[in-house]
Protein backbone atom coordinates (compact mmCIF):
# COMPACT_ATOMS: atom_id res chain seq x y z
CA UNK A 1 0.00 0.00 0.00
CA UNK A 2 1.24 3.46 -0.91
CA UNK A 3 -0.27 5.56 1.82
CA UNK A 4 -1.01 9.08 0.63
CA UNK A 5 -3.67 10.13 3.10
CA UNK A 6 -1.47 11.59 5.82
CA UNK A 7 -3.52 14.80 5.86
CA UNK A 8 -6.26 12.70 7.46
CA UNK A 9 -4.07 10.51 9.68
CA UNK A 10 -0.45 9.51 9.39
CA UNK A 11 -0.39 5.74 9.17
CA UNK A 12 3.37 5.54 8.78
CA UNK A 13 4.75 6.37 12.20
CA UNK A 14 8.00 5.84 14.09
CA UNK A 15 7.96 2.36 15.72
CA UNK A 16 8.55 4.00 19.11
CA UNK A 17 4.97 5.34 19.04
CA UNK A 18 3.28 1.93 19.06
CA UNK A 19 5.82 0.63 21.59
CA UNK A 20 5.03 3.48 23.97
CA UNK A 21 1.28 2.90 23.65
CA UNK A 22 1.72 -0.79 24.37
CA UNK A 23 3.95 -0.09 27.36
CA UNK A 24 1.58 2.51 28.79
CA UNK A 25 -1.43 0.22 28.56
CA UNK A 26 0.45 -2.30 30.71
CA UNK A 27 2.07 0.08 33.20
CA UNK A 28 0.19 3.36 33.51
CA UNK A 29 -2.97 4.20 35.45
CA UNK A 30 -4.37 7.73 35.58
CA UNK A 31 -2.51 10.97 36.37
CA UNK A 32 -3.64 12.74 39.51
CA UNK A 33 -5.59 9.77 40.80
CA UNK A 34 -3.28 8.57 43.53
CA UNK A 35 0.44 8.50 44.12
CA UNK A 36 1.00 4.79 43.67
CA UNK A 37 3.54 3.86 41.00
CA UNK A 38 1.10 3.25 38.10
CA UNK A 39 -0.59 6.63 38.75
CA UNK A 40 2.73 8.40 39.05
CA UNK A 41 4.04 6.75 35.89
CA UNK A 42 0.95 8.07 34.11
CA UNK A 43 1.53 11.53 35.58
CA UNK A 44 5.17 11.47 34.51
CA UNK A 45 4.17 10.33 31.04
CA UNK A 46 1.65 13.17 30.66
CA UNK A 47 4.08 15.74 31.97
CA UNK A 48 6.85 14.50 29.70
CA UNK A 49 4.53 14.87 26.71
CA UNK A 50 3.71 18.44 27.75
CA UNK A 51 7.44 19.15 28.01
CA UNK A 52 8.11 17.75 24.54
CA UNK A 53 5.34 19.93 23.11
CA UNK A 54 6.61 22.95 25.03
CA UNK A 55 9.99 22.57 23.34
CA UNK A 56 8.61 21.83 19.89
CA UNK A 57 6.21 24.78 19.81
CA UNK A 58 8.32 27.31 21.70
CA UNK A 59 6.10 27.78 24.74
CA UNK A 60 7.37 29.14 28.03
CA UNK A 61 5.65 26.66 30.37
CA UNK A 62 4.29 23.11 30.07
CA UNK A 63 1.01 23.98 31.76
CA UNK A 64 0.05 25.88 28.60
CA UNK A 65 -0.13 22.51 26.82
CA UNK A 66 -3.53 20.90 27.37
CA UNK A 67 -4.58 17.50 26.10
CA UNK A 68 -7.52 17.18 23.77
CA UNK A 69 -9.04 14.39 21.69
CA UNK A 70 -8.02 16.06 18.43
CA UNK A 71 -7.68 19.52 16.88
CA UNK A 72 -11.46 19.83 16.53
CA UNK A 73 -11.84 19.43 20.29
CA UNK A 74 -9.29 22.18 20.86
CA UNK A 75 -10.95 24.49 18.35
CA UNK A 76 -14.29 24.02 20.09
CA UNK A 77 -12.72 25.05 23.41
CA UNK A 78 -11.07 28.06 21.78
CA UNK A 79 -14.29 29.20 20.12
CA UNK A 80 -16.34 28.72 23.30
CA UNK A 81 -13.75 30.71 25.24
CA UNK A 82 -13.54 33.70 22.91
CA UNK A 83 -16.71 34.01 20.89
CA UNK A 84 -20.09 35.35 22.00
CA UNK A 85 -23.37 35.09 20.04
CA UNK A 86 -23.56 37.79 17.40
CA UNK A 87 -19.84 38.50 17.48
CA UNK A 88 -18.19 39.16 14.12
CA UNK A 89 -15.43 36.66 13.60
CA UNK A 90 -13.04 36.87 10.66
CA UNK A 91 -12.02 33.54 9.17
CA UNK A 92 -10.02 32.57 6.13
CA UNK A 93 -11.72 31.13 3.09
CA UNK A 94 -9.84 27.89 3.62
CA UNK A 95 -11.34 26.82 6.94
CA UNK A 96 -12.34 23.30 7.83
CA UNK A 97 -15.73 22.48 9.35
CA UNK A 98 -13.84 22.09 12.63
CA UNK A 99 -13.74 25.89 12.63
CA UNK A 100 -16.93 26.79 10.77
CA UNK A 101 -19.33 24.54 12.66
CA UNK A 102 -18.36 25.57 16.21
CA UNK A 103 -18.54 29.24 15.18
CA UNK A 104 -21.97 28.84 13.60
CA UNK A 105 -23.13 26.85 16.61
CA UNK A 106 -22.14 29.59 19.01
CA UNK A 107 -23.94 32.17 16.88
CA UNK A 108 -20.96 34.05 15.45
CA UNK A 109 -21.31 36.25 12.38
CA UNK A 110 -18.74 34.88 9.93
CA UNK A 111 -16.75 37.37 7.90
CA UNK A 112 -14.86 35.31 5.37
CA UNK A 113 -11.54 36.60 4.06
CA UNK A 114 -10.67 35.13 0.68
CA UNK A 115 -8.44 37.30 -1.46
CA UNK A 116 -7.21 35.96 -4.77
CA UNK A 117 -6.89 32.20 -4.82
CA UNK A 118 -3.67 30.96 -3.17
CA UNK A 119 -2.31 34.50 -2.93
CA UNK A 120 -1.09 35.35 0.59
CA UNK A 121 -0.56 39.05 -0.16
CA UNK A 122 -4.06 39.45 -1.49
CA UNK A 123 -5.39 37.55 1.54
CA UNK A 124 -3.53 39.85 3.92
CA UNK A 125 -4.77 43.00 2.16
CA UNK A 126 -8.35 41.89 2.57
CA UNK A 127 -7.72 40.78 6.14
CA UNK A 128 -6.31 44.19 7.03
CA UNK A 129 -9.67 45.71 6.03
CA UNK A 130 -11.69 43.20 8.00
CA UNK A 131 -9.80 42.96 11.28
CA UNK A 132 -10.68 46.31 12.90
CA UNK A 133 -13.70 45.80 15.14
CA UNK A 134 -13.70 42.03 14.82
CA UNK A 135 -14.22 39.95 17.96
CA UNK A 136 -11.72 37.31 16.93
CA UNK A 137 -9.82 35.88 13.98
CA UNK A 138 -9.67 32.16 13.32
CA UNK A 139 -7.24 31.05 10.64
CA UNK A 140 -5.95 27.75 9.44
CA UNK A 141 -2.19 27.54 9.00
CA UNK A 142 -2.36 25.16 6.05
CA UNK A 143 -5.39 24.25 3.94
CA UNK A 144 -6.26 20.59 4.40
CA UNK A 145 -7.58 20.47 0.83
CA UNK A 146 -4.91 22.26 -1.18
CA UNK A 147 -1.86 22.38 1.05
CA UNK A 148 -1.83 26.17 0.72
CA UNK A 149 0.17 27.69 3.55
CA UNK A 150 -1.40 30.86 4.88
CA UNK A 151 0.76 33.73 6.20
CA UNK A 152 -0.17 33.17 9.85
CA UNK A 153 2.82 35.08 11.24
CA UNK A 154 1.61 38.21 9.44
CA UNK A 155 -1.97 37.45 10.50
CA UNK A 156 -0.69 37.29 14.08
CA UNK A 157 1.02 40.66 13.73
CA UNK A 158 -2.16 42.25 12.33
CA UNK A 159 -4.21 40.80 15.18
CA UNK A 160 -1.78 42.13 17.77
CA UNK A 161 -1.83 45.60 16.18
CA UNK A 162 -5.60 45.63 16.43
CA UNK A 163 -5.94 43.90 19.79
CA UNK A 164 -7.97 41.07 18.28
CA UNK A 165 -7.50 37.54 19.65
CA UNK A 166 -6.29 34.95 17.17
CA UNK A 167 -6.94 31.22 17.01
CA UNK A 168 -4.75 29.11 14.72
CA UNK A 169 -5.85 25.76 13.38
CA UNK A 170 -2.54 23.92 13.06
CA UNK A 171 -4.13 20.63 11.99
CA UNK A 172 -2.09 20.44 8.79
CA UNK A 173 1.01 22.29 9.89
CA UNK A 174 2.10 20.92 13.26
CA UNK A 175 4.99 18.56 12.62
CA UNK A 176 5.07 19.44 8.92
CA UNK A 177 6.25 23.05 9.05
CA UNK A 178 7.56 25.15 11.94
CA UNK A 179 4.89 26.38 14.34
CA UNK A 180 6.22 28.92 16.84
CA UNK A 181 3.62 29.73 19.47
CA UNK A 182 5.46 32.79 20.78
CA UNK A 183 6.02 34.26 17.33
CA UNK A 184 2.39 33.73 16.31
CA UNK A 185 1.10 35.60 19.34
CA UNK A 186 -2.08 33.54 19.13
CA UNK A 187 -4.48 33.08 22.00
CA UNK A 188 -4.89 29.42 21.06
CA UNK A 189 -3.23 27.00 18.66
CA UNK A 190 -5.13 23.75 18.07
CA UNK A 191 -3.01 20.75 17.17
CA UNK A 192 -3.94 17.17 16.28
CA UNK A 193 -1.80 14.37 17.66
CA UNK A 194 -2.46 11.86 14.90
CA UNK A 195 -1.30 13.80 11.84
CA UNK A 196 2.09 15.51 11.58
CA UNK A 197 3.02 14.72 15.17
CA UNK A 198 2.64 11.01 14.31
CA UNK A 199 0.84 10.10 17.53
CA UNK A 200 -2.18 7.84 17.90
CA UNK A 201 -5.70 8.79 16.83
CA UNK A 202 -7.70 10.34 19.66
CA UNK A 203 -4.90 12.63 20.76
CA UNK A 204 -4.43 16.34 20.36
CA UNK A 205 -3.17 19.47 22.06
CA UNK A 206 -4.54 22.91 22.65
CA UNK A 207 -1.76 25.42 23.23
CA UNK A 208 -3.12 28.23 25.39
CA UNK A 209 -1.79 31.72 26.04
CA UNK A 210 -4.23 32.40 28.87
CA UNK A 211 -7.00 30.49 30.55
CA UNK A 212 -10.02 29.10 28.71
CA UNK A 213 -13.56 27.96 29.27
CA UNK A 214 -13.90 24.23 29.83
CA UNK A 215 -15.96 22.26 27.36
CA UNK A 216 -16.28 19.36 29.79
CA UNK A 217 -16.77 19.51 33.53
CA UNK A 218 -15.78 16.78 35.94
CA UNK A 219 -13.03 15.28 38.03
CA UNK A 220 -9.49 16.52 37.62
CA UNK A 221 -7.79 14.91 40.60
CA UNK A 222 -7.25 18.23 42.37
CA UNK A 223 -9.32 20.81 44.28
CA UNK A 224 -11.94 18.11 44.63
CA UNK A 225 -13.86 19.92 47.34
CA UNK A 226 -14.92 22.61 44.89
CA UNK A 227 -17.90 22.23 42.57
CA UNK A 228 -16.16 24.50 40.05
CA UNK A 229 -13.41 23.46 37.68
CA UNK A 230 -9.90 24.49 38.77
CA UNK A 231 -8.85 27.92 37.54
CA UNK A 232 -5.42 26.80 36.42
CA UNK A 233 -4.36 25.19 33.18
CA UNK A 234 -4.05 22.48 32.13
CA UNK A 235 -6.38 20.74 34.60
CA UNK A 236 -9.11 23.31 33.92
CA UNK A 237 -9.58 21.83 30.45
CA UNK A 238 -8.90 18.18 31.28
CA UNK A 239 -11.96 16.78 33.02
CA UNK A 240 -12.11 13.02 33.39
CA UNK A 241 -9.52 10.35 32.84
CA UNK A 242 -7.10 11.30 30.10
CA UNK A 243 -6.01 9.12 27.19
CA UNK A 244 -2.69 8.23 28.81
CA UNK A 245 -1.85 5.46 26.34
CA UNK A 246 -2.43 7.85 23.46
CA UNK A 247 -0.45 10.54 25.23
CA UNK A 248 2.45 8.11 25.69
CA UNK A 249 2.46 7.50 21.94
CA UNK A 250 2.07 11.18 21.19
CA UNK A 251 5.08 11.97 23.33
CA UNK A 252 7.17 9.63 21.20
CA UNK A 253 5.77 11.11 18.01
CA UNK A 254 6.64 14.63 19.12
CA UNK A 255 10.06 13.50 20.24
CA UNK A 256 10.67 11.98 16.82
CA UNK A 257 9.59 15.17 15.07
CA UNK A 258 11.72 17.32 17.36
CA UNK A 259 14.82 15.17 17.08
CA UNK A 260 14.45 14.80 13.32
CA UNK A 261 13.82 18.52 12.96
CA UNK A 262 10.68 20.07 11.51
CA UNK A 263 12.65 21.88 8.82
CA UNK A 264 14.19 18.60 7.70
CA UNK A 265 10.76 16.97 7.61
CA UNK A 266 9.39 19.95 5.66
CA UNK A 267 12.25 19.66 3.17
CA UNK A 268 11.68 15.95 2.67
CA UNK A 269 7.93 16.43 2.19
CA UNK A 270 8.50 19.31 -0.22
CA UNK A 271 10.75 17.11 -2.34
CA UNK A 272 8.18 14.31 -2.39
CA UNK A 273 5.35 16.72 -3.17
CA UNK A 274 7.27 18.34 -5.98
CA UNK A 275 7.90 14.95 -7.56
CA UNK A 276 4.27 13.95 -7.21
CA UNK A 277 3.05 17.30 -8.54
CA UNK A 278 5.34 17.15 -11.55
CA UNK A 279 4.13 13.65 -12.43
CA UNK A 280 0.44 14.36 -11.96
CA UNK A 281 0.66 17.52 -14.08
CA UNK A 282 1.74 15.42 -17.07
CA UNK A 283 -1.35 13.21 -16.96
CA UNK A 284 -3.99 14.11 -19.54
CA UNK A 285 -7.53 14.50 -18.25
CA UNK A 286 -6.36 15.44 -14.80
CA UNK A 287 -6.78 18.95 -13.48
CA UNK A 288 -4.11 19.51 -10.84
CA UNK A 289 -5.01 22.37 -8.52
CA UNK A 290 -1.60 23.97 -8.23
CA UNK A 291 -0.56 26.10 -5.30
CA UNK A 292 2.58 28.19 -5.94
CA UNK A 293 5.50 26.08 -4.76
CA UNK A 294 6.71 28.47 -2.08
CA UNK A 295 3.28 28.40 -0.42
CA UNK A 296 2.71 24.66 -0.85
CA UNK A 297 2.98 21.88 1.71
CA UNK A 298 2.55 18.12 1.33
CA UNK A 299 -1.00 18.11 -0.04
CA UNK A 300 -2.10 18.07 -3.69
CA UNK A 301 -5.69 18.12 -4.90
CA UNK A 302 -6.70 17.00 -8.36
CA UNK A 303 -9.91 16.74 -10.34
CA UNK A 304 -10.21 13.92 -12.90
CA UNK A 305 -11.99 15.06 -16.04
CA UNK A 306 -13.11 11.67 -17.32
CA UNK A 307 -14.49 10.10 -14.16
CA UNK A 308 -15.67 11.13 -10.74
CA UNK A 309 -13.21 11.80 -7.95
CA UNK A 310 -14.83 9.09 -5.86
CA UNK A 311 -14.36 6.55 -8.65
CA UNK A 312 -10.72 7.54 -9.10
CA UNK A 313 -10.05 7.29 -5.36
CA UNK A 314 -11.77 3.90 -5.20
CA UNK A 315 -9.78 2.63 -8.18
CA UNK A 316 -6.56 3.92 -6.65
CA UNK A 317 -7.44 2.19 -3.39
CA UNK A 318 -7.98 -1.09 -5.22
CA UNK A 319 -4.64 -0.61 -6.94
CA UNK A 320 -2.89 -0.02 -3.60
CA UNK A 321 -2.79 3.75 -3.40
CA UNK A 322 -4.62 5.31 -0.44
CA UNK A 323 -5.99 8.78 -1.23
CA UNK A 324 -9.17 10.61 -0.28
CA UNK A 325 -11.94 12.02 -2.45
CA UNK A 326 -14.70 14.51 -1.70
CA UNK A 327 -14.91 17.84 0.09
CA UNK A 328 -12.54 16.81 2.90
CA UNK A 329 -14.84 18.39 5.52
CA UNK A 330 -13.92 21.79 4.13
CA UNK A 331 -16.68 23.01 1.78
CA UNK A 332 -15.65 26.61 2.41
CA UNK A 333 -12.19 25.92 1.01
CA UNK A 334 -13.76 24.41 -2.09
CA UNK A 335 -16.03 27.42 -2.54
CA UNK A 336 -12.97 29.64 -2.28
CA UNK A 337 -11.07 27.61 -4.84
CA UNK A 338 -14.03 26.99 -7.16
CA UNK A 339 -14.06 23.22 -6.72
CA UNK A 340 -17.17 22.75 -4.59
CA UNK A 341 -19.25 21.14 -7.36
CA UNK A 342 -16.79 18.32 -7.98
CA UNK A 343 -14.74 18.08 -4.83
CA UNK A 344 -11.20 16.86 -5.32
CA UNK A 345 -9.03 13.80 -4.96
CA UNK A 346 -6.40 14.56 -2.38
CA UNK A 347 -2.91 13.09 -2.26
CA UNK A 348 -1.06 13.89 0.97
CA UNK A 349 2.43 12.77 1.85
CA UNK A 350 4.47 12.30 5.00
CA UNK A 351 8.20 12.10 5.50
CA UNK A 352 8.12 8.28 5.56
CA UNK A 353 6.94 8.13 1.94
CA UNK A 354 9.58 7.56 -0.72
CA UNK A 355 10.30 9.12 -4.12
CA UNK A 356 9.64 5.71 -5.67
CA UNK A 357 6.17 5.69 -4.17
CA UNK A 358 5.47 9.07 -5.77
CA UNK A 359 6.48 7.78 -9.19
CA UNK A 360 4.41 4.64 -8.76
CA UNK A 361 1.35 6.58 -7.56
CA UNK A 362 1.59 8.77 -10.66
CA UNK A 363 1.90 5.76 -12.96
CA UNK A 364 -1.10 4.04 -11.38
CA UNK A 365 -3.19 7.21 -11.58
CA UNK A 366 -2.31 7.61 -15.23
CA UNK A 367 -3.14 4.00 -15.98
CA UNK A 368 -6.53 4.20 -14.32
CA UNK A 369 -7.46 7.37 -16.19
CA UNK A 370 -6.18 6.03 -19.50
CA UNK A 371 -8.17 2.83 -19.17
CA UNK A 372 -11.24 4.74 -18.17
CA UNK A 373 -10.87 7.09 -21.13
CA UNK A 374 -10.66 4.17 -23.55
CA UNK A 375 -13.84 2.57 -22.25
Amino acid sequence: MIYLDSAATTLLKPPSVAKAVEKAIRTCASPGRGVHPPAMRAADCAYACREEATRLFGLDAPERVTFTMNATHGLNIAVRSLVQPGMRVVISGYEHNAVVRPLVNVGARLDVCVGERFNPDSFLSELKEKIPGAGAVVCTHVSNVFGFRLPVEEVGALCRENGVPLVIDAAQSAGHVPVDFSALGAEFVAVPGHKGLMGPQGTGLLLCRNSAQPLLYGGTGNMSDSTAMPEDLPERLEAGTQNVCGIAGLREGIRFVRETGVSRIAGREAELTQRLHRGLKLIPDLNVISVPEKHRTGVISVIPLSMSGEDLAAALGEAGVAVRAGLHCAPLAHKTAGTVSTGTVRYSVCAFNTPEEMEKAVRITEKILKNRYKT
Partner: protein, 83 residues
Protein backbone atom coordinates in the same frame (compact mmCIF):
# COMPACT_ATOMS: atom_id res chain seq x y z
CA UNK B 1 13.66 18.01 59.01
CA UNK B 2 11.49 18.38 55.90
CA UNK B 3 8.90 20.81 54.67
CA UNK B 4 6.16 20.55 52.07
CA UNK B 5 5.30 23.19 49.52
CA UNK B 6 1.77 22.99 48.17
CA UNK B 7 0.95 23.59 44.53
CA UNK B 8 -2.33 24.47 42.88
CA UNK B 9 -2.30 21.49 40.53
CA UNK B 10 -0.53 18.26 39.78
CA UNK B 11 1.11 19.86 36.74
CA UNK B 12 2.43 22.78 38.78
CA UNK B 13 3.73 20.32 41.37
CA UNK B 14 5.45 18.26 38.67
CA UNK B 15 7.05 21.35 37.23
CA UNK B 16 8.02 22.50 40.70
CA UNK B 17 9.79 19.25 41.52
CA UNK B 18 11.67 19.41 38.22
CA UNK B 19 12.63 23.06 38.65
CA UNK B 20 13.89 22.38 42.15
CA UNK B 21 15.79 19.27 41.07
CA UNK B 22 17.33 21.22 38.21
CA UNK B 23 18.45 23.83 40.73
CA UNK B 24 20.18 21.25 42.90
CA UNK B 25 17.38 20.98 45.47
CA UNK B 26 16.15 17.39 45.69
CA UNK B 27 12.35 17.28 46.05
CA UNK B 28 9.73 14.57 45.91
CA UNK B 29 6.18 14.84 44.64
CA UNK B 30 3.49 13.76 47.10
CA UNK B 31 -0.24 14.02 47.49
CA UNK B 32 -0.69 16.77 50.04
CA UNK B 33 -1.90 15.62 53.47
CA UNK B 34 -5.62 16.36 53.78
CA UNK B 35 -5.17 18.68 56.76
CA UNK B 36 -2.91 21.00 54.75
CA UNK B 37 -5.51 21.68 52.10
CA UNK B 38 -8.84 23.39 52.23
CA UNK B 39 -10.20 22.47 48.83
CA UNK B 40 -9.67 18.74 48.60
CA UNK B 41 -6.97 16.83 46.77
CA UNK B 42 -3.75 18.74 46.12
CA UNK B 43 -0.13 17.97 45.34
CA UNK B 44 3.04 19.10 47.00
CA UNK B 45 6.82 18.87 46.94
CA UNK B 46 8.73 17.57 49.95
CA UNK B 47 12.22 18.94 50.50
CA UNK B 48 14.74 19.70 53.16
CA UNK B 49 13.88 22.52 55.56
CA UNK B 50 17.40 23.88 55.09
CA UNK B 51 16.76 24.45 51.40
CA UNK B 52 13.35 26.10 51.79
CA UNK B 53 14.29 29.73 51.26
CA UNK B 54 16.44 28.86 48.27
CA UNK B 55 13.63 26.72 46.89
CA UNK B 56 11.04 29.47 47.14
CA UNK B 57 13.38 31.93 45.47
CA UNK B 58 13.95 29.45 42.68
CA UNK B 59 10.22 28.90 42.13
CA UNK B 60 9.61 32.64 42.16
CA UNK B 61 12.40 33.16 39.64
CA UNK B 62 10.53 31.03 37.09
CA UNK B 63 7.14 32.54 38.03
CA UNK B 64 5.85 29.21 39.23
CA UNK B 65 3.03 29.84 41.68
CA UNK B 66 2.95 27.78 44.84
CA UNK B 67 0.67 27.57 47.84
CA UNK B 68 1.19 27.36 51.55
CA UNK B 69 4.24 25.74 53.14
CA UNK B 70 4.02 23.29 56.04
CA UNK B 71 6.32 21.34 58.31
CA UNK B 72 5.53 18.37 60.53
CA UNK B 73 4.64 19.47 64.06
CA UNK B 74 6.09 16.35 65.66
CA UNK B 75 2.75 14.94 66.75
CA UNK B 76 1.52 13.72 63.38
CA UNK B 77 0.14 17.08 62.28
CA UNK B 78 1.45 20.03 60.29
CA UNK B 79 2.23 23.63 61.06
CA UNK B 80 2.30 26.38 58.49
CA UNK B 81 5.71 27.85 57.80
CA UNK B 82 5.95 31.55 57.05
CA UNK B 83 9.07 32.93 55.45
Amino acid sequence: MSVIILFRSLTYAQRGVRVLGGGGIPATLIKAPAETTTRGCAYAAVLSRRKLREAVELLDSVSLPHGLIFEPDGSGGYTEVRL
